[in-house]
Each structure stands twice: as C-alpha cells, then as structure tokens.
Symmetry: D2
C-alpha cells in the first residue's frame, strides 16, 4: 500500500524568510525586540495582539505574582532533579512544572471558571443578583463537599496582600471590578457558612482578573506555567550556591527508614 | 536507631508573614506588583537585583527573542502531548521544554562559554589579540571536528536579522561590544576556513550579549527555558483552535509503516 | 523563630544496611535477583506481594501488551525530544510518558472504573443483572455524550486481537470472567444503540482484567506508564539508527507555513 | 510557495492490520502475550530478538536491581509532584525519571563505557594486560580529578551485596567474566591509590554485565529509565496511603525561612 497524501497543516504563529522573522504579524527584529517587554510579548502569545498600556500593567502584575511562591513542592522538585541530572537545566525546570496541577495552580483555572460560567443575566450591574450567584456557588460547593478555588490561605490572614494589591491595580487601570465583587461576595458567604477566615488568595484574584482581561478559563493555568518556569530557574540557581535539596533528601531518607535499622 | 537531627537549610529567595510577601528583599505587593514587568522580574530572579533601564531593555530583548522560534521540535512535542493528555497543560509545556538540550538552546550556553573562557589578557581592547583568540577558537573546533555554537543558520543568510538587531540594541544601550566583535571575528575566520556563509545566529548573539550582562555561561540555558515556556503555551492554544498535531501524527503513522501493509 | 520539630515520616518499600537490601520484605540479592523477572517484580511493587504463577502469567501479559503501540504521539514525542536533547535519554522518555493522559492510556483507568464502580449486588453471577448494568452504563454515556472507555478501534475490526487473547489468557489461568462478560454486554448494547462496530480494545480488556487482579482503578494508569517507558526507549534507539523525527519535523515546519512564503 | 514533497520515513518496530499486531517480527497476541514476561519483552525492545534462557536470567536480574533504590531524590520528586498534580500519575513518574541523569543512573553509562572503550588487544584473556588497563583507567581518572563510575557506596561496605550477587548470576549463567575481573582490578587499584574502601556498586556491576550482554554504553542509561518507572509508580502509591511528601515539604518550607520570621 502506498503512503497516503499528507493532510494540509497550518500554523499562523510565526514565519520567516532569509531576512525576516514575523511573530503574530509583527516584525520581530524591527517592531518587537528592544521595544516590547517579556510580559507584553507573553500577552501577544496568548491574545495575538499587543496589550494596551492598561492591559500591560495588569497582565504583567498577574504573571509577576505567579513567578515565585517560595519553597513550594515544585521548587523542591526542580532542586532535587538538578541534584541527579545537573547536566539538564531544562529537565529540572520541566520536573518542577509538572506539579502545577489541580492542587496548586489549577485553582486559577477553577476561579476563572467560576467567573466565566455565570449566566449572562447582568449580574455584573446587579448586586442582589451577584450575591445570589455567590450564594449558589458556595452552597453548591459545600453540598458537593468541595473547597472553593481561590479561597483560603494557611499564612495570609485575614487578607492575602497579593490578592488585595492585584485587585487594586486592576481598578487603578480602569478595569471593571465585577469579578472582584463576585469573589468578595463568595468569600463573605463562605465565611458566614463555615465560621472560618477565608481570604481571597493570590490564585483566586488572578483567576478573577484574568477573566476580566479575557483569558479563557481553560487556558488560565498557562499563566502559572509560564511564570513559574522563571521562578524555578531561580531555585536551581540558589541550590547550586547553597545546597538545600541534598540535606532535605538525606534527612528524609534517613528518617523514613530509621524504624528498620 | 533514632532518626538523626535534620541539618540546617536555608533559602533567601522569598519569605512571608501573615501580611507580607518579600522576594529578593523587595516587598512583592507594594514595590513590585504593578511596577515591574515580567522581564525585569526575571532579571531579579537571575541577578537578585532589579535591572537598570539599559539592562532592562537589553535583557528583555534577549528573552523576547527566545520565546517563539516557529514550529520547532519542542512546539510539535507540546502539541502532540496535549493530544494525549489534554487535561494537563503543564505536562504539555514541560514535555516541550525537555527538548531544549544540547542541540538547540544549548548553543546559547556554548556561545556564552566561548566568551567567558577567554583569558583575562585585555583582548577586549586589543583587536589583534581578539582576532588571535578567534582564530584559536575556530581552528580548535575544526581540529576537533566540532561545530562552533552560535554560527550558521539554514534560512537566515547572509545574516540572522534577530542577531544583528540584538547586537545593535546592546550598543544603543551603551554596553561594551567586545563580545560582539569577538563573534564577528570568529565568524570571519570560520567563513575563511570553510568557504561557507556562517551568520551569527540568534543563540550566538544571545550567548554573547548575556555574557556582557553577566549571566554565567552555565546558567545561560535558563534564558531559553524560561522564555520558551511562554511560547509553548501559545502552541498548545493554537493546536486547540486549529489542530496540527493530529494530522502530523496520523500522516507519520500511516507513512512509517506503509511498507508493511 | 526557631525551626519547628520535623514530623515523623516513614516508608516501608525498601531499607538497607551495610550488607543487606530489602524490598517489600524480600532480600533483594538473595531472594529476588536471578529468581524473579521484571514483570513479577512490578507486581510486587504494586501489590506488595509476589504473584502466584497464574497471576504472573496474566499480569505479565497485561503489561507486555502495553509496551509498544507503534508510532503513537508519545513515540513521536520521545523521538523529537531526543533530537533536541540527545544527552538526556531520561528526558526523551519522560516527555513521551507525559502524553499518557486521558485520551490514550487513561482509558484503562476508565474501563477499570466501570468494573469497580458497580454495586455489590451479585451481578457477576446473574446475567440479567449484568446486562442491566451494561445497559445503564451505555445509556448513561450516550446521554452525557461521552464515549465509553475501552470500546472502539480505528484499525482492529471487528475484534482487537490483543483484547481477545488477553481475555483468553485470563480464563486459561483460572480467573473469573465476570468483567469480560460485562464488557461484552457493554459492547453489544453500544453496538445496538449506535449501529457501529465497537470492538473491545486492548485498553478496555486491560482495565477489565486488571480489575479482576485487584488493581484499584485510580492506579490502573500506572500499568501503562511503567510499560510504555520500556517501549519509548526502543523508539529513541530506532531514531538513532534510522532518523524519523527529523524528517517529520522538517516536513511539518515547511508545510505549516508554506502559505506565507 | 507550495509545500515540499514529504520525505520517506520508516519504522520497523511494530505494524498492524485489522486482525494482526506484530512487534519486532513476532505476532504479539499469538506468540508473545501469555508466553513472554515483561523483562524478556524489554530485551526484545532493546535487542530486536528474544533472549536465550541464560540471557533472560541475567537481563531480568539487571533491570530488577534497578527498579527500587529506596527514597532517592527521584522518589521524593514523584511523590512531591503527585501532591500538586494528583490527576496526572504520568506527570509524577515523568518528573521522577528526569533526575536519572549524570549523577545517579548515568554511572551505569560510565561503567559500561569503561568496558567498551578498551582496545581490542586480548585483555580479556591476559591478566597482566587487564591490570595494566585498570591502572591506566584509575590513574587517568585521578589525574583528571574525576571519580570512577561504578565504584564506592555510602552504606554498602566493604561490598555492595547487589553487585556481588549480579556478578555471580552472570557467571552461573555461563557468561564471560572479563568485565567483572576488569572492575575488580580497577577497584583494587583505586583502593591502593586512595586508601579508601571502594566497593563496586550496583550501577558498576550493571554497567559491566550489560556490556557483556552487548548493550551499547550510550543506551545503558535506558535500563535504569525503564526499570525506575516501575519503582516510581510504587512510591506514588505509598504516598497516597501514607503521606511522606507533604510533611517533608512542610518541614523544608518552615525550616528554610525560619531565619526570617
């Protein structure tokens, strides 16, 4: 049997000729390099258009807030992987990214989905309706025994200072605050229902504001992935200068089997 | 045997209290969010200090130039991985990053190593000495039958427009051009020796300019890793809208075993 | 603030002293090496006990059937990754494994979940009840517009020869065939309802038989992961001897942007 | 410009028709399933032929010895990754595999390279020549300040019981012991030169015996990758039953920044 005719394929992200490189319709060397920062270029990658100055401030603040969250499991993973494969920085960063799943960065997705799944009934301009939606969301989550993505933090109480500042930046830049008000109503309802202090955390604010910017919820996890890759390079670097992964591993190994020897 | 006492460990990248988050000594909510773009924050991650305005322009141009290189093997890998595991955007991006090894992004590392391995003999101010070093590098590579990292491109001839623009930006911002002149001398020597057109490519220019900025060569690969994570998110997005991975796979599968059926 | 006391941790998988290595209670050098094959050792890892001879035959056949599925997206991914990072075989295999998600190997999980989610009402010995469950499963999937995991194959029609042989092996080794009969009833109902030929495919049979062996459904994906790691090493090897990834990439790159140049 | 004609590609690993699946020339359902264990199938993947009974015993013992090495960095990485992305078992295993680089499993590669890089001068039958080669290898490594792959172990002294048993199995099965004798001579020379106890460790023995079986050194790392994928599934399982990653992370996070708060 002869090989079948290949099917047509097409990509419109980038193309080049001998003396040109074009990305999303912009000449890379002439119109982007030296003129556009990394955050604005990331916006171009997601939205296929460059941001306005207001969009740029807000988008950059969202991704900056996601780069570095301290010694997370992902940071430990990148450091431990570099211990075994020091020749492969890409492997160490990739390993760390693999932990950005449902538990951590997936909450951005969940928070964005909440904002983007509401009916188009004008709740943005109707506080009573907004509160009703908030009540439905909280009560539904409680009935299903699920936590609400974007609420709660073990350290930042009563408020997560990053979330508060991100909301403020979005307002300063003239963006509609409906998603912020929605999350504040969700928080109030959840605190009433549980008696706990449940701050809107950074991923909650990011999911809400990303929705305002127009990031589809099923892509929202990508903000965390692209930002954290930067932070994980930093953790591999610090581990070269001041080893942390090796003592953590050695201690864990010794302690986990000390009952046997 | 009782478990041993854990050894002290320490990280200085970030720390937080109930109402503060500090990254590399800067208050994240108050001093960074809304004020610092993603590229400058990446500079902070690498250098532990924020860039000057000149450093900012140059550093952002380097990483922007690395985000998107078209339908590379890495881009295909991320798209193919999303086909099998659509639930895991982090897995698709991580898979794509794993191809940023010795062949592609590793050439940044190689180019930077060339610049950073020269003796401290004042070659930066002595053209004859600079040309002598260039000759040694080229002749050594040819004797070892190795290609010179950062030289040559299948499409961009006689010059890679990205490399030329990046060098120009670095000069415009007032940076020393010694590493650029070194690479131009290496190129001239290599073209003389081989009779081929060997443009300084983007990774060559990035390795040279990153060295001028003070990026240690054994970290230089990290510039490509952090930048490409952004671009790979974009390829997964385009593949959702206009599937390319599936026809590429189907065609390859059908054609690769068509001699058997 | 002083560092808190570490919490106790414990692993019972393996431990060692200067002259002993013990895995799941067995002396590795004396009792396992040279006596136990890789498949039986994998069974030990999953079940914490070695298999009986019958369990060994069936378990080995399940994982053997998962090692190699031809030029899958995962195989292409491992080959493409090795192109960019030839220094990192572990990276190439890891990249390929990342595509073993919901679309492909996840169907083992789905098929196993079907078997393990039925009520404990004696359906295994009551054909009418079994058919009723099959009907509920098929009709529920159709109402939710979801495909049934483990049914259907683009090439193997009317039957997937691997699935048929795996069921036969399980019966030959004396295992209960209730899960096989359940899947045959599901198939019959689905074919009646759709008018299509819907063979039980390899992952369907594996999910069913793994359930009979006692593999919890939320671990069933692990069978595919451990087996496919072996197969992906083979694809990287073949690509070194007879390059396939490079022409696939070059063709895709040229064709995907040919409308622009 | 029209798209170019695709180049021919070919894979000979597997092919299928509606009622057949063939792997490396063997009918999978009829000739392999139920008859060949996972280890022998892995041998088929590497060597394109099934093993003899003697080869089978030795090969299975090598890969079995690599499955489980206790709470290694890779095991911690897989557990920590599952913490963040419990939905993606493939991601957790892939992350763990990424640490199988130069430091750990890469030593199999190094040990095999030693055996396979010696000149074809009959050293296998000439003890004086063998000792001379051992001396050259040790003295060369010491002059280059490099450790010798396959020698030394922090716990197993004076001998690694896995290595000793693996060598014994290879002899029992009738294989030439030249590579074993070479490594014993290397050990003796290294101990003389350093005054330290330097057992041949498991990866050293595996590299030596794999060379005897005919595994090319630049593939030897693949033995570790395929085996460890199995072991890492086991670690993710244990972490679900008895969480270890979470306390390790929590402790590391608290302790690493306790100097700041």
């Amino acid at each position: 049997m002869s090989a079948p005719e290949p099917r047509p394929i097409r990509s419109d992200i980038a193309w080049s000729t001998s003396d040109r490189v074009v990305v999303h319709g912009h000449d890379l060397p002439d119109d982007l390099l030296g003129k556009v920062g990394l955050g604005d270029f990331a916006y171009l990658v997601l939205f296929k258009t460059l941001p306005s100055p207001h969009e740029s401030v807000v988008f950059n603040s969202l991704v900056v807030a996601l780069v570095e969250h301290g010694l997370t499991p992902s940071a430990l993973v990148s450091r431990l992987t570099a211990l075994g494969a020091p020749e492969s920085l890409q492997g160490a960063v990739a390993a760390g990214l693999l932990g950005l799943g449902d538990t951590f960065v997936g909450t951005i997705e969940g928070a964005a989905k909440i904002c983007q799944s509401l009916p188009d009934d004008g709740w943005q301009r109707d506080e009573a309706l907004l509160r009703e939606h908030a009540r439905t969301i909280v009560d539904g989550s409680r009935a299903a025994r699920k936590s609400i993505p974007g609420l709660g933090h073990p350290v930042h109480k009563p408020n997560d200072p990053r979330a508060e500042r991100l909301f403020e930046i979005a307002r300063e830049q003239g963006f509609d605050d409906a998603n912020e008000r929605l999350f504040r109503a969700i928080r109030a309802r959840a605190e009433d229902a549980t008696g706990k202090v449940l701050p809107i955390n950074a991923t909650g604010a990011i999911g809400a504001i990303a929705s305002t910017l127009g990031v589809p919820w099923d892509i929202a996890r990508g903000l965390g992935v692209m930002a954290r890759a930067i932070g994980l390079v930093g953790h591999v670097l610090e581990d070269r200068e001041r080893p942390l992964a090796k003592p953590v591993w050695n201690d864990a190994e010794a302690r986990s089997t000390s009952h046997r020897s």
